[in-house]
Every structure is written in structure tokens, then in C-alpha cells.
């Protein structure tokens, strides 16, 4: 492969990597707060993307629909945590996994029911061509990357500089001590889910123009997001971002080398590989469990 072709693959890989980073970030946020992997994150994002599509179809402008969907996603995430997840908070791992899978299946099926399985196009808010005739990446890819970075910056600022963000970090790290300073840990969890759902919705809206809107659009993206989150370190938000970009580039470069048929297998190999070779990921700390 020529150097120019490689550069092209890397550049567009970074762009899609940004989207994986968003979804991975949502996964990491929930993991940090609950030590659970939300298997239904992709379907939640997909469902919210359909909501955005419906709003746009009803006449709302792109960005109005975008922000409305983000708000709806936030509320949806909170509701799911309070209603579906709370009853199994302390249940054994298998029960929780099963509930997640149940959620995944329900969301997928209901989306297919309400919105049908016909593949739909989803608009991109970015101009059709980049200025100066740049052809390295498409405008949407660049725009998606920019949106991802903005979201990440906002999240970082929220967690680092606001009292609420601090309280959420505290609740995730040490729920007992958090209660002792008056933090309502249950609500912090719900908030975390709400934020994660909102971030996921952004990821869905950004990826839909590329993979087209259909109920199964997120399965590949979810797998890559898992791989990204694990690669970066399941507890590290920064790691999720780096992991996402790396996974995006790998997907594109390997896809160009060995064809696009085995994309999911690549994700599988990545996931299993990271879990075996370095389970705490690039930026995570090794977990020690007490007996």
C-alpha cells in the first residue's frame, strides 16, 4: 500500500475512531460508577438516533433535533437506571448481564417495530466539501471528530471543575464515604447513566450518516467501542479516547489490507487479545481483588 493510501486510511480511521471513542467513553463512565459493562449501550444510542431522525422528520432543524435528542437521551438513561437497573444493583453478575441483554433485545426490537427495518439515510450537518479542496477526510468525518472532541472537553470540564462532577466521581470511587458527606449516591448513579446515554446518543447521531440508520447499525460500533474501552483501560476516560482512535485506525488499515469481511472478527481478536495480554489496558491500573 502506498504511503498516500496509508495516510488516507489513518486519517479516516482517526475520524471514525472519534466515534468509537464517544461510545467507549459512555461505557467507561458507567463502568467507573457501577463496575458494570453496559451491553445495551449501543442499542440505547441507536434508539436515540431514531428519535433524532423522527424529530427531524417532524420538521425540526438538525441542531434543534440534536440537542433535543441529547436531552431526551439523558432523561431516558436516568429512567433506565432507576427503573431497570436499580432492582439488580446488588444481584450476582449473571443476573445483571442478563438484564442488560434483555434491555438490548427490547430496544432493538422496539426500534424495529416503531421505525421498521428499512434502512434510512441520516443527514450530516457538515458542508459537502471541505475548503481548500482538502480530500484527506470527508467533511462529515472531520466534523464528527470535532464534535467528539467538544463533547470530551465538556465532560472533562464537568467532572474536573464542578461540584456535581466531583460528587459523581466520589460516588463512583467510594459510595460509603460519599454518603457520609451527604451525597445521594443513588441519584449520582442515575446521573451517570443519563450522561452516558447522552454521550452515546451523540455517537449514534455522528455514526448514522456513515453506516446508515437501521436497528442493527450499532452492533459493529459497539464491539469496537468495547475493544476501545478495554484497550484504553476500562476505568480511564482518557484511555477510552486514545483506545477509540487506535481502534479506528486499526480497523481502517487492516480493512484495507485484508478486506472488509472480517471487521467484527478483528474486534473480537482485539477484545480477547487485550483481555489476555493486558487486562487493565494501556492506562488503567491493575485491579486487585480482596478475598
Amino acid at each position: 500500500m502506498s504511503a498516500e493510501a496509508l495516510l488516507l486510511q489513518v486519517a479516516s480511521g482517526l475520524a471514525t475512531g472519534g466515534i468509537y471513542a464517544s461510545l467507549a467513553l459512555a461505557l467507561v463512565m458507567i463502568y467507573r460508577a457501577t463496575h458494570l459493562v453496559n451491553f445495551a449501550q449501543g442499542e440505547m444510542a441507536m434508539f436515540c438516533t431514531y428519535i433524532a431522525w423522527s424529530l427531524m422528520n417532524a420538521g425540526l432543524g438538525y441542531w434543534t433535533a440534536f440537542f433535543a435528542t441529547v436531552a431526551i437521551a439523558f432523561v431516558l438513561g436516568m429512567l433506565i437506571e432507576r427503573i431497570v437497573i436499580r432492582p439488580v444493583e446488588d444481584a450476582p453478575v449473571l443476573s445483571v448481564v442478563v438484564v442488560f441483554i434483555g434491555l438490548l433485545v427490547i430496544l432493538n426490537s422496539v426500534a424495529g417495530w416503531i421505525f421498521t427495518y428499512t434502512i434510512k439515510t441520516f443527514p450530516s450537518p457538515f458542508p459537502a466539501e471541505l475548503p481548500y479542496g482538502i480530500r484527506l477526510v470527508s467533511p462529515h468525518q472531520l466534523g464528527a471528530l470535532a464534535v467528539t472532541m467538544v463533547v470530551l472537553a465538556l465532560l472533562y470540564a464537568f467532572f474536573r471543575f464542578t461540584a456535581l462532577g466531583l460528587a459523581m466521581r466520589a460516588a463512583a470511587q467510594n459510595p460509603v464515604s460519599s454518603r457520609l458527606v451527604g451525597i445521594r449516591v443513588g441519584w449520582m448513579l442515575a446521573l451517570g447513566w443519563g450522561l452516558a446515554a447522552a454521550v452515546g446518543a451523540v455517537a449514534g447521531i455522528m455514526v448514522a450518516p456513515i453506516v446508515y440508520l437501521d436497528p442493527n447499525m450499532m452492533s459493529g460500533t459497539l464491539l469496537y467501542a468495547f475493544a476501545a474501552a478495554l484497550l484504553g483501560g476500562i476505568e480511564s476516560p482518557g484511555g477510552a479516547v486514545v483506545g477509540g482512535l487506535i481502534v479506528g485506525v486499526l480497523e481502517n488499515v487492516l480493512g484495507a489490507l485484508i478486506g472488509n469481511e472480517l471487521k467484527l472478527v478483528v474486534a473480537l481478536v482485539l477484545i480477547v487479545g487485550v483481555l489476555l495480554a493486558r487486562p487493565s489496558g494501556l492506562f488503567g491500573k491493575a485491579q486487585v481483588t480482596r478475598v
Binding site: L166, A167, S177, V181, G182, I183
Partner: protein
């Protein structure tokens, strides 16, 4: 009466630990709860904060709180410094302190209180940006106490604050506790194994053995009592 406890029972699962504890505290007092390891002192403090299943009556400032959630009891003005300190190890010293003031409304007062804590414990100011988990034992204890004080509590519960600390550090800590009690009218319920220092600071004392109060009275009285001296003061 700031705190009134009547017939408090508590258990961990099926194992009962407290068998009907009575205790009362006046506003502004320093009361100490002494007893050997496993007597149930820690459980008692946790029961006050709604962290264990209990039956019986607990009144704080006249209101019954036995059924309240921990975070609600905290918002009534009860600050608990647990055994093990409960530091947020992954957050910085200053973040720990700010969390102590999480439930308070006025930002400017919060900043003033932050400075006051740094005044009591200058070492914390030096380490304000450091990860709390990397502080020494003594520093973490100071951090835990300061975090509790950031609440501007009416009642401060301390679980073995002298544990694992060098004697000089303990002295300094108890001096500050005394100052806080006198100048800011914070009532203190102090669970301690270091009976001598506790009795020197407190005005009232309770003795707990296997989940029951076996003696109570003025701290000075217990200090002079022969049986107590032999059992708990070692002379």
C-alpha cells in the same frame, strides 16, 4: 438534649451486636465512648448514621432519625469520621475537603472554611493538590477530621481517631478537637481505645462491653475510678 439514644439494638445480618444501648448527650459536650475491641463501639456510631439495621430510638435535636438514610442524617448536621478514615484516595486533598462541604449552599463561606481548615492543619495546605491516598496516616486522619468539620456539623462522631498515630500527632489532634468544641460549639462523640487522652478531653464518658453500656458518668469520675483505671488505663 442534642442526642438521645434509647434501647438501640443493631445486628449484622443475623448476628446481634448491640443489645439495647442508652446514651444521652447535651449540646456542646464532649462525650467519649470507651471499650475494648469488639465491644460494639464502631457499630454504635454506624447505627447512629443509618449504616446498619437497627431497632430502638435515636433522637437528634428532638427528631427521630433511626429510619433515615445516611445522607439525610448527614444533612441534619451529623458528621462521621469513620474508622479507616474513609478518605477518597483517588481524589486530591482539596477535593476531599470540598466534598465535606458538598451539602452547603454558600460558596463564599465554603472558601472561608477551607482556609480555616488549612489554618488548623497547615500540612494539608502543603499537600492540597496531592492525591489523598498518598498522604501519611496522620495526615489522612487530619484530612478526615477537616472534611467532617467542613460540614459545619452540630455533632461530630469520631471513630478511634488516635489509631495508628504517633503520640505527638494525637496530642495535636485532640488539642484541635478541644478548640473546635469550645470555639465553634461542635458537640463531639468520641469513640476511643486510647482511654487516657479521651477521658482528659471529655466531660462525660460511657463504657461499653459486648454491646451494652456498663458504666457512665462524668469523665473525671471515671478517670478516678479504680476498676476503670485498671481495665482501661493500665495502671
Amino acid at each position: 438534649m442534642l442526642l438521645e439514644v434509647k434501647g438501640l439494638q443493631a445486628s449484622y445480618g443475623a448476628t446481634p451486636v448491640l443489645h439495647g444501648v442508652d446514651l444521652a448527650m447535651q449540646e456542646g459536650s464532649v462525650t467519649t465512648l470507651l471499650g475494648a475491641n469488639g465491644a460494639g463501639k464502631t457499630t454504635f456510631l454506624r447505627a447512629l448514621c443509618g449504616m446498619v439495621k437497627t431497632s430502638g430510638e435515636v433522637r437528634f435535636a428532638g427528631a427521630r432519625i433511626e429510619r433515615h438514610a445516611t445522607e439525610d442524617i448527614v444533612r441534619l448536621g451529623v458528621a462521621h469520621v469513620p474508622d479507616g478514615r474513609g478518605t477518597f484516595a483517588g481524589l486530591t486533598t482539596e477535593e476531599n475537603l470540598r466534598l465535606g462541604g458538598y451539602t452547603r449552599r454558600r460558596a463564599r463561606e465554603l472558601e472561608a472554611d477551607l482556609e480555616r481548615m488549612y489554618g488548623y492543619f497547615p500540612r494539608l495546605k502543603e499537600r492540597r493538590a496531592q492525591q489523598a491516598g498518598t498522604l501519611s496516616g496522620g495526615e489522612q486522619q487530619m484530612l478526615a477530621v477537616s472534611r467532617a468539620l467542613m460540614l459545619r456539623p452540630k455533632l461530630l462522631l469520631l471513630d478511634e481517631p488516635s489509631f495508628g498515630l504517633a503520640p505527638l500527632v494525637v496530642q495535636e489532634l485532640f488539642r484541635i478537637l478541644g478548640a473546635v468544641n469550645r470555639e465553634e460549639r461542635v458537640s463531639i462523640l468520641l469513640v476511643e481505645q486510647n482511654a487516657a487522652m479521651a477521658l482528659a478531653l471529655a466531660d462525660r464518658a460511657y463504657l461499653m462491653e459486648t454491646g451494652r453500656i456498663v458504666r457512665s458518668g462524668a469523665a473525671a469520675e471515671l478517670q478516678r475510678d479504680d476498676a476503670v483505671r485498671r481495665a482501661y488505663l493500665g495502671y
